[in-house]
Amino acid sequence: MERGWRSTMQRWCLGVAMLACAAAALAQTYPSKPIRMIVPWPPGGGVDTAARLISQPLSERLGQPIVIENRPGVAGNLGTAQFTKEPADGYTLLMGSLSPNAVNPHLYSKLGFDPVKDFEFVALMYYVPSFLVVPANSPANSAKDLVEMARKNPGKLNFGSGGVGSSQHLFGVMFNTAAKIDAVHVTYKGTAPAEAALVAGQIDYMIDPPTALPFVTSGRMKALAVASKQRSVSLPDVPTLDEVGIPGVYTSTFYGIMAPAGTPKPIVDRLNKEINAILQTPDMQARLAKASAQSHNWSPQEFADFVKGEIERYREIVRLSGAKQVD
């Protein structure tokens, strides 16, 4: 018995010593084993694409494989909540994004995580603007035309979205509020069916992310304005909403790497440095430009401030949208 107890004690001390050493050597030795990257969405969407875009070059730079794990459910909440309970050792990362990290805190009363306290904000990948799009045969040829149409027929126009509380829904509310128009929200199951309905002219307009761009270039939709501070590199002729007198509608759907709260700072800094270096490569820059995506070379602090600002901003927008708080 005595002997057994002593050996347990010894092992325990050894364990503590090893942990201490590990912490000291962390910055030099990280990473020493494969890293998991949680994507709280099914394969194939925007968040998954961002994860798969960065995982390959990042694993080359870190010298360890990065395994992507899709844990979809409840607009990203399930996977994100599970992620925050993972050990904060830098071996579990999250591809964070607008919905779970900034919008859902205002939509769901039982989120399962704190959008600020449970995260270390590692690095922004990029954000994409959204566009005000209408069907090709729409009588509106400018944002001004559309607003006039809507004001003449209050409550007659329809705007589409990929679901209640989706980014298109909230962006639409932002636009309607800024333009002071009254239109009806029509939900679809995801972005693609909503875009198909717009192409077919079943709905009148939508504030849509760059997934709509192929339809614009093929002449199936008209892009009337871009909802961001600067014009988009993909469609430089399309004015911003600010320029046409509908101010303050800035939509930046962001994608960024996050770690569980308490992840050692040296690891966060190392990851931030590597990710930003990857994003600055010409090959990556060309890819981002093609998708209208913008990267910023932000520090972890700058990224954290950005996300916190978005969380605050969406509090009011969600309230205006009328989307209910759910458990």
């Binding site: 099914p42 394969p43 194939g44 998954d48 694409t49 798969r52 390959q56 794990e69 899709n70 844990r71 979809p72 459910g73 409840v74 909440n77 399930l78 909540a81 939509l107 039982k110 399962g112 329809n158 679901g163 209640v164 509380g165 009806v184 029509v186 939900t187 679809y188 199951k189 693609a192 069916p193 875009e195 198909a196 309905a197 192409v199 077919a200 079943q202 709905i203 192929p214 339809f215 270039t217 093929s218 002449g219 199936r220 093609k290 989307a323 209910k324 759910v326 458990d327």
Partner: protein, 501 residues
């Protein structure tokens, strides 16, 4: 003659050694994931997408397309052999396909599924080649009201799925509809029947339900009776299809191909509906509908042809308009954009080799599927002679992994087990699980489109009757309902008269 010249161009582009290799690779991977439950083509295509960055665009698309129809074929294999639909489209194949396997005719069923799919694939490819642009424009005219009426038609045909009691079929379908209501309300975002369980807010997973209702319930029933505890089929008659069977199956293949080619062009559920619709058609035209559910070869030939034709024609909206009709198509569009190809009407004009090459490769892919799978039939069928005490733990294991890997979540495994229990009760009560699944699949689509149509019409119910296509489908549903109910009513009248005498 334009068509022939275009097809020649396509075959020229697709028949390079590299493209053939990747077509083979795609169909092989697709068949594999189709056989394994839980891993669907969507996840596979998403994971393989980065691999295709380095390939020429046509080669990449050929491989991804191969995965897609390979998966739908592989799904039927497990449906026939072990009563487990690998994909949504093979739910119907289970009904008669697995019965055929029990009678020792698994080889024939697999063979008919393969050849029917090949034929349907070839015809559907021709349809794409000849009529893609006008068909896509037609599909665009389908608004929420038309989709609602289409779903009503589909639901009414669910009743025809049942063999035996009509009342039971209706009740089971209603149960399926109720299960489909679980989850987030499409218009308000409020959670319904989720009992504060976050996993239920997205509704009950399809994979978990099918694993439970079909695989687990079937195993429980089999273990119960000593007679069914042996191998699934002790004696196996023939592997190859015979002439009388061919004559029986061929008209069904023709009808299934027609149904699938038409329904496949509608984004969102068209291809899934096609197998259900085809089964209904087969049962209606059969001289002796009572054979269905007991191993009728038409019940395999029709739906299998229909789902493959539907899978093929669902490329139409994607190729001509850039509109994805399902998640796999959305990923293919992503793949095209990565290669700097803007999907849409310009593809045919600006990159004819790509467009026609992909079409030609569908043809090649279908032939490859058959070449790949016909020799495998012998091996698959031998699987049925494995003693059940060895086979069922493997099925349970594979299904559990499948249920888990759908969302990487243990919750789905518990759901699958609960549905295993429900399925067992249903089988004990002589209720068919297939109509339940149809209700569960169609219910949310029905609700979604009904409410969207009403939002668009500002609450005016007459939209369903004033739009001609919608009205036509509702009338067809009414006619079908009358057709199904008439014999039942007549029979009751007969018994009433009999009692009076």
């Amino acid at each position: 003659m334009d068509l022939l010249a275009n097809l020649a161009l396509g075959f020229g582009a697709a028949l390079t050694p590299l493209n053939l290799l990747y077509a083979l690779l795609g169909t092989l991977v697709g068949t594999l994931i189709g056989v394994l439950p839980g891993i669907g083509p969507v996840a596979t295509v998403a994971m393989l997408l980065p691999v295709t960055y380095g390939l020429p665009p046509l080669t990449a698309l050929i491989m991804l397309a191969g995965i897609y129809y390979g998966a739908s074929y592989g799904g039927s294999t497990t449906a026939i052999l072990v009563n487990l639909p690998g994909e949504m489209s093979s739910v119907i194949t289970v009904i008669d396909g697995h019965q055929m396997a029990r009678q020792g005719r698994a080889g024939v069923a697999l063979c008919v599924a393969a050849l029917g799919s090949l034929f349907a694939g070839c015809v559907a490819t021709m349809v794409i080649a000849a009529f893609a642009p006008p068909l896509a424009e037609f599909a665009l005219r389908f608004d929420a009201a038309e989709y609602f009426s289409l779903m009503v038609l589909g639901l009414v045909s669910a009743i025809a799925l049942a063999h035996g009691s009509l009342l039971r079929a209706v009740l089971v379908t209603l149960l399926g509809l109720l299960l489909g209501i679980v989850g987030t309300d499409p218009n308000t975002g409020i959670a319904r029947f989720s009992f504060e369980i976050p996993e239920l807010m997205d509704g009950i997973g399809f994979v978990a339900i099918t694993m439970g209702l079909f695989a687990f319930a079937e195993i429980a029933i089999n273990l119960e009776s000593a007679a069914r505890r042996g191998a699934i089929a002790e004696r196996i008659s023939r592997l190859w299809i015979g002439w009388p069977e061919f004559r029986q199956a061929f008209p069904a293949v023709l009808r299934g191909t027609a149904v699938g080619s038409i329904l496949g062009i509608f984004p969102g559920g068209g291809a899934t509906l096609s197998a259900f619709a085809s089964y209904t058609v087969e049962k209606k035209v059969a001289k002796d509908p009572s054979r269905f559910g007991k191993g009728a070869i038409e019940g395999v030939a029709g739906p299998e042809s229909a789902n493959n034709a539907g899978a093929q024609t669902s490329f139409i909206p994607m190729l001509t308009l850039g509109i994805p009709s399902n998640a796999v198509m959305a990923l293919m569009i992503g793949a095209m954009i990565i290669h700097d190809i803007q999907p849409g009407p310009d593809v045919i004009r600006k990159q004819p080799e790509l467009f026609w090459g992909l079409i030609a490769s569908m043809w090649i892919g279908n032939v490859m599927l058959v070449v790949l799978n016909l020799p495998l039939i012998g091996i698959w069928v031998r699987l049925l002679r494995v003693p059940y005490r060895l086979l069922y733990p493997v099925i349970v294991l594979v299904c559990t992994i499948g249920a888990f890997s759908a969302n990487n979540n243990m919750f789905d495994v518990w759901v699958a087990m609960a549905f295993g229990a429900l399925g067992y009760v249903l089988l004990k009560l002589d209720c068919e699980p297939a109509p339940l699944l149809l209700g569960y699949i169609l219910g949310p689509m029905l609700e979604d489109n009904l409410r969207r149509a009403l939002v668009l019409s500002r609450g005016d119910f007459t939209v369903f009757f004033t739009r001609p296509v919608s009205l036509a489908m509702l009338l067809a549903a009414a006619a079908l309902l009358a057709l199904v109910l008439a014999p039942a009513i007549r029979r009751r009248r007969d018994t009433v008269f009999a009692e009076r005498e």
